[in-house]
């Protein structure tokens, strides 16, 4: 080790104008790499890690076009063309799974947005700061619980024996006797939607509250002088002020339209509600891990990612055309 190999301070100017030699292109790149080798040592191991753990599985999509048998190496498999995709799109069960996935993520998306935005606005209207902080702190709590715990709490609340929901509903006379909510498939989407709101509404409101605090307070003062009521101020100042954040989050969430969640559905699913509970992720798990049909499950998973990607880019370009804020 010579002394010269100790890390030299790197010059933060990208083009060394004043230097005697003025190399360009690849030579410059190599020289800068040498100068910044400590930064390279600090990042390259993780780039390799990323390629192995995040990009290599994408190459595994090739399985969707094969009749994959785990005992053989990846490129000695029998090719199957689009067989698995054809099977998926003609399979009535897959159609049901798609319906469940889209329905649940759509319900979660709308319900999640409306509740989080409303909560942020109402929290912002609270005048007592201590009370506001207490409510906020408590509203974040469910977000930090695991879905295992949350699903346990939800099924306990919905239980026929001493479940609080059944107790309240029978006492105020909406139902005559306890209902087995988790045993009725038609209720499942609503249960998932409301559970998701319970778990995440406080957390999701953080970003909207931050957006509200960025709004110029002079606008509120001016509106007050003009005699605008609280609701008018919310409608004409607060909501428009939150618009860029709402649009960006909407685009991001549309990219996850086939991502209806997995844990809540899997943990609350039972044979009675399964026709409404099974979504794409559960389908992949059932075919892939439980039945060992790796190719079909990969095809379904690949379909999910590709559709999500298309949705993300379409939503982004629509926002761009409408002159709204956008993701990229």
């Amino acid at each position: 080790m010579s002394l010269q190999q100790t890390p030299t301070p790197t010059a933060p100017n990208p083009s060394p104008k004043g230097s005697v030699k003025n190399p360009t292109g690849f030579k410059l790149f190599l020289r800068r790499c040498k100068e910044q080798r400590v930064l390279l040592y600090m990042s390259i191991p993780f780039i390799i890690w990323l390629i192995i753990f995040r990009y290599l599985p994408v190459a595994g999509w090739v399985m969707a076009f094969q009749d994959f048998r785990p005992a053989r190496p990846m490129f000695e498999q029998d090719w199957a063309g689009f067989k698995h995709f054809e099977f998926l799109f003609t399979d009535p069960r897959f159609m049901e799974v798609m319906r469940n996935t889209l329905a649940m993520s759509f319900i979660n998306l709308i319900l999640g947005f409306v509740t989080a935005i409303s909560l942020a606005i109402l929290l912002n209207e609270l005048r007592n700061v201590t009370f506001k902080r207490i409510v906020q702190t408590i509203s974040y709590m469910p977000h930090f619980l695991s879905w295992v715990v949350a699903a346990g709490l939800v099924s306990a609340a919905l239980s026929m024996e001493n479940g609080i929901i059944n107790i309240i509903l029978t006492n105020i006379g909406i139902i005559d006797r306890p209902v087995m909510f988790l045993g009725i498939g038609e209720y499942f989407w609503g249960i998932i939607g409301l559970s998701d709101v319970w778990k995440n509404v406080g957390w999701n409101s953080i970003i909207y509250l931050a957006a509200i605090t960025m709004i110029d307070t002079e606008q509120y003062e001016a509106a007050e002088i003009d005699g605008a009521s609280r609701l008018q101020r919310i409608w004409h100042i607060t909501l428009p002020g939150m618009r860029p954040v709402i649009v960006i989050l909407l685009i991001m969430n549309i990219g996850y339209i086939l991502e209806s969640g997995f844990e809540a559905q899997y943990l609350l699913m039972n044979p009675m509600n399964m026709d409404y509970a099974e979504n794409l992720d559960i389908f992949v798990l059932r075919y892939g891990i439980n039945m060992g049909n790796f190719s079909l499950a990969t095809a379904a998973g690949m379909f999910k990612t590709v559709v999500s990607f298309i949705f993300l880019f379409s939503a982004n370009s629509i926002a761009k055309k409408l002159g709204e804020a956008r993701l990229f």
Binding site: R32, L56, A59, W61, I138, A151, A156, G288
Partner: protein, 309 residues
């Protein structure tokens, strides 16, 4: 009444305002009740005699106080083993992830770094592209990570969201500090360890909380990869199994499958419901105790990531 209300609502201007504020406060109180009741109810059940709970009517407080449910839960070797693994994966996983994520974030926060754009791009892209469950499963098998503890740690050493948040924070630090350090001869490593890390404590606390909550709450990787290795199970997975078993007996009485244990002549029993409640409390209490103290950090961190991400 008016005076009482103004205590909560503070200044008020007109009748409309008073009505609005009152309704708002009532709504918030209801919200707090909805958020807290399930947990308080579970707490009451976990400290209530199991056979007494079956009679119903336990809401906010236990009726027949007992710690037997917890004694039963902690008496199981499997639960203790799972607790150790849960703690290990949270401690090791969090510290490793925080360090590695901060390190990568530091490199991509340096404007002059040659691979800055490339590194940022390939990390951010993975938010939208992923191979999915099956290819990932096969990869883990090829790498012989299945059946080891490291499958809980290595796939998560850099968190993408955490990376973006940390990068934004470090970029916001005054560049002059780094410049003067460079003039004093500090290399990149020294700048990272001695300047970037200590000055980023708020964001480090935030991402540490995110990683810790993720690790502590994770059960899916245990279920997928290590379900046939009981010595690598975690608490959440044990709770999940209890939950699935009591779901399987849905409809039948929750006293079904009660265990009985004789203790000094007094017969004490536990039911799946009581075990579930006690386990729920055991896995939730650590998180509930920690997150309020980190609130100001994660609110700031989340806002930062949301605005610049």
């Amino acid at each position: 009444m008016k005076k009482f209300l103004s205590k909560f609502t503070g200044r008020r201007r007109g009748v409309d305002d008073l009505v609005f504020d009152t309704l708002n406060v009532i709504f918030m109180v209801l919200l707090v009740v909805v958020m807290l009741y399930p947990m308080i109810n579970t707490l009451a059940i976990s400290f209530n005699d199991a056979t007494d709970t079956v009679r119903g009517g336990i809401h906010l407080l236990p009726r027949e106080w007992t710690t037997y449910n917890f004694e039963h839960v902690f008496g199981e070797a499997q639960v203790l083993q799972a607790g150790i693994i849960s703690i290990l994966r949270t401690v090791i996983g969090t510290s490793l992830s925080v360090f590695c994520t901060a390190m990568v974030a530091y490199t991509i926060s340096r404007q002059y770094f040659v691979l800055r754009k490339f590194t940022t791009l390939i990390f951010v892209l993975t938010m939208y592209i992923n191979g999915g469950l099956i290819p990932t499963y096969l990869l883990m098998r090829e790498l012989s990570l299945i059946g080891t503890f490291w499958i809980y740690v290595i796939p998560h050493i850099v968190g993408i969201f955490q990376l973006i948040v940390t990068r934004s924070f470090i970029e916001g630090l005054p560049e002059t500090i780094f410049e003067s350090a460079r003039i004093d001869g500090a290399g990149e490593w020294t700048q990272f360890i001695k300047i970037a890390l200590p000055l980023s404590l708020p964001v480090i606390a935030t991402i540490a909380l995110f990683f810790a909550v993720f690790q502590w709450n994770q059960w899916f990787d245990v279920f997928i990869y290590n379900s046939s290795y009981p010595n690598l199970s975690v608490l959440q997975y044990e709770l999940m199994k209890v939950l699935q078993n009591s779901n399987a007996s849905l409809g039948s009485g929750s006293a079904a499958g009660a265990f009985a244990a004789s203790q000094g002549g007094v017969v004490q029993t536990v039911t799946p419901q009581a075990v579930r409640a006690a386990m729920t409390i055991v896995v939730s209490v650590p998180i509930i105790c920690v997150y309020p103290f980190l609130q100001k950090y994660f609110v700031k961190g989340l806002t930062l990531g949301g605005v610049k991400g």
